[in-house]
Subunit: 282 residues, 2 copies
Amino acid sequence: MCPSKVADGEQRGWIIPIGGAEDKLQRRRILKRFVQLCGGRDARIAIIPTASRLSDTGSRYVDLFERLESGPSSIVDIQTREDGEREDYLDMLANATGIFFTGGNQLRISTIIGGTSAAKLIRLRNAAGIPVAGTSAGASILSEHMIAFGKEGSSPRAGSVRLAPGLGLTNRFIIDQHFRQRDRLGRLVAALAFNPFAIGIGLDEDTAAFIGPDNTLEVEGSGALTVVDASELQFSSMADAGQTKPVCLLGLKVHILVEGATFNLHTRKASPGTLMTERDPA
Amino acid sequence: MCPSKVADGEQRGWIIPIGGAEDKLQRRRILKRFVQLCGGRDARIAIIPTASRLSDTGSRYVDLFERLESGPSSIVDIQTREDGEREDYLDMLANATGIFFTGGNQLRISTIIGGTSAAKLIRLRNAAGIPVAGTSAGASILSEHMIAFGKEGSSPRAGSVRLAPGLGLTNRFIIDQHFRQRDRLGRLVAALAFNPFAIGIGLDEDTAAFIGPDNTLEVEGSGALTVVDASELQFSSMADAGQTKPVCLLGLKVHILVEGATFNLHTRKASPGTLMTERDPA
């Protein structure tokens, strides 16, 4: 489940986790920027509504992208593992200029699509330069290590979070979504404490991380993106704390980013980005 | 509202903010340790129930301390600003070996006791070596800058928190309580962003910071204590973000401490404390 290899001279496509409840009626900054990255009027977006149990989730996004003047979208309606091998669906993915995962339950995506030809093709297409976005559950699934579910609103405890393998477009971060709205800092920090190599990204609703081919993340949307960097952790009691006791973690670095700010997933450096230039127009 | 000066050769008394809902029936680690610091069987604790609107709050703590085998407690029942000048109450405070603020609403304490002789005497007594503890609202009031109220459960916004002058036993930290239970990280971070000199201390329920005369804080209780250190902040958009937009804050340091761990408010160094020695008994 490692990311597919990017060919020499090529660039990986954008990876765009969205915190859920993205603006669909007003400014629509996130969806608009995604459509642009997919080619604007030439965009052919493949929508994967597998996470959702609602029958109209796919067609809802077809409408949304159409109103943003994208080219024609298609619904890759994978509902069973057999669907993940269907030729017509694989064709849609092969011809898409962008791939979008809707919200719902991320375990539906991992259990139904994980290990199928569709999953492999999505990784290949992203490695070949195609943007892949996902909202809510669709955001969680993008990385190699995914928060399957967990307890909200508490200090970090080993028992408060359960990880599962995700789609593996990247292994640099662990995503959580509806972040402040559902008070998920504790479970994200717990997820990182298992192995602090990854970077935690907590996405508020209507907030997205646009992660470019150079592994620089830019924030888009009305909320905040919380970066938790545990790489300089000086102490962790995770191995001894048991399932239910809070974990002692010393030396976490936290950045709260808003629209315009950036974070480099490689160097782990945060920057105010355009916030700084907006401030000093002179 | 600065802390009273500690006389040469003397030591300031312990300052003990408690996150609320401290265990009153089982292990009672926090209240027990407080009673010990006040002198155990020789303790004469002055209980200040001003924050509470319930008439039995004071007598409830008299019972609790008695069951922990302290000496006799007294209730300093300040309900009006005139009460803050009453000789009998000032005598109780002058003779106490420990002072305890109950929970309720911290604005009741600051508006009723702030600026009275009682407030001044409490600072003097603490500077002379007497421990002062407070739970919930009683914890918030202890520092010079107090969170009066604020919005819970969101990313930091300037409008999400309102500061007021507290009792001023210390100016090193800003306290928030019921921390994870009421999702108050956002507002604590916002409070720090106004002026990052202070250290943010978020106390879970049944969790206390025992802050010694040397300004080293030790955690006691079943939850976690979240330290937010904004002193190395590399960027803040606080001044430009307005009241309602989330604030961009880059370079926060966060430590999650549990029972046994320590943090030095002077050097800003966190340590696993006894957690480390418990782990390696050999």
